[in-house]
Amino acid sequence: MFELFVSEWERMWARKKTVVTLVLFAAVSVLAAMWLSRFGVGFVNAGTEVRLDAWNFPAFLLKETSFVLMLVAAPMLFVDALAGERVQGAYRMVLLRPHGRGALLLAKWVALAVWVAMLLAVVLAVGVIAGQTWLGDGGALTERAAAASAAGLASFGDVLAYYGVFYLIAVAAMGLCTLICLLVPSTVLAYAGLVGSYVGMLYVSEHLRFFLLGGEAVFQVLSGNGAGVFAMALGSVMVLSFGASWVMWKKRELC
């Protein structure tokens, strides 16, 4: 299984786009950090703002970069790995090797999940460094308390929790993307379908807004509002999309 993963991982980096995406994403994170630290306030949601300081900065930075992550940096790699390789024909060489289909899909999922973790690590690193460099550590205690109640950020552990919950959302998006890539025949359509389904979910229910408005949704979860509903919604999307794609991947004619 480990070799399967490494093989998948190597193929991911064999596409020029992967390196370019990582570099550009890091650049976007740095620019966003510059802008955000100068701005000095972070928006928990449209109505609530919190003064930024060194320790809460990474969370708000992720909220700002979340659009680029969820709409560009992650899906581009998802679609390439899950559909592009098959459409283009390179994946046939892999399917001809003596492995179960399930194991091959699992290797893809693990590789993509590591990719998403890398993206989040970049934002976190930029956030921590930029926060320490450009912002003071000294929010007044009252302000800290305000931030804690509004954003659910009371300690660095909460910031990590913020990243953790966001990570789950991105992984759910990967499940959704797998399913869409199995349903539509072209990479352009798969990509557009993923973005369309983010938006569509917004219309279906307010509780499904986290794909498009993840930054805001995670603040709400951390501050203890509707965490249960969130877990239910995210969990069902994950179970349905991963389950359905698992079954389809094993049954479908992949190339």
Partner: protein, 268 residues
């Protein structure tokens, strides 16, 4: 050239995806109408945001669906340019003594024509659904304009609005064409397109302190606020915004054309 154009045009409409997107439009218009009805509860009649039969086509486009058209050009161009070039389909065309230049202009104008058809259909669908769901008030308010206006005036305003909206989509499409020509894969074309859209959304926020003109370098900003500003009393932003759009089209088409003709000749 005419034969090439027709074959590109028919190919576009022979695809299920084109029809799928076309048939999605009424659903989106209906969703926008429900949203506007809900909003009306919190507004008083006579405000420009208050939806009536007369201004619904403008509201639907302005508040919600401009982005749909931006995404539409991303998808159409990524499919027509990048996907075809990379899957070697262009080679068949080139065997039939079609030059890259002809192909470039055919693709560009076909996508523009398709967007025109989508926008026209969208306008009519707004009327149909609006007629069914909204009141036919005596007068209606318009953005950045003093006074109340009769229905006929609002319709004329709406047509001007759609004309300018069409221009913004042309400007957006020229950027997307350039990206689609440069991209190595179709996914990269879509990714770059969406990245550009995000940049366009972010720009007016980041450039707030520099004023409306700098903000209006973003086409999406023109779409969200610029068109209404262009049609406001005294037409304050008309020249500037048109200038920005013309620049986008001129620069992107020139670079895209040269790139397509020079580079693609090698690697198809």
């Amino acid at each position: 050239m005419k034969g090439l154009w027709m074959s590109e045009w028919l190919r576009l409409w022979s695809r299920k995806r084109t029809w799928g997107m076309f048939l999605m439009m009424p659903v989106l218009v209906y969703a926008a109408a429900r949203y506007c009805l809900e909003q009306n509860g919190a507004l008083s009649p006579g405000m420009p945001e208050y939806a009536t039969v007369w201004n619904f086509p403008v509201l639907a486009l302005a508040e919600h669906l401009m982005t749909v058209f931006n995404l539409l050009v991303v998808v159409l161009l990524a499919a027509a340019v990048t996907e075809e070039a990379r899957s070697g389909q262009l080679r068949f065309l080139l065997l039939r003594a079609v030059t890259f230049a002809e192909l470039f202009w055919a693709k560009w104008t076909v996508v523009l024509a398709a967007v025109g058809v989508f926008l026209g259909a969208f306008y009519l669908e707004c009327w149909g659904i609006g007629w069914w769901l909204f009141e036919r008030t005596e007068t209606v308010g318009l953005f950045y304009r003093e006074g109340a206006f009769a229905g006929g005036e609002a319709v004329r305003y709406g047509l001007a609005y759609y004309g300018l909206a069409g221009l913004t989509v042309v400007a957006m499409a020229s950027v997307m064409l350039l990206l689609a020509v440069m991209a190595q894969t179709a996914t990269a074309a879509v990714g770059m397109g969406i990245g550009w859209l995000l940049l366009s959304f972010g720009w007016p926020v980041a450039a707030r302190m520099f004023g409306a003109q700098v903000q209006s370098l973003s086409i999406t900003h023109i779409q969200h606020q610029g068109i209404a500003a262009m049609l406001a009393d005294g037409r304050p932003m008309m020249r500037w915004n048109l200038g920005v759009m013309v620049c986008y089209v001129a620069v992107c088409l020139t670079v895209g054309y040269l790139w397509f003709v020079k580079r693609r000749g090698l690697d198809v």
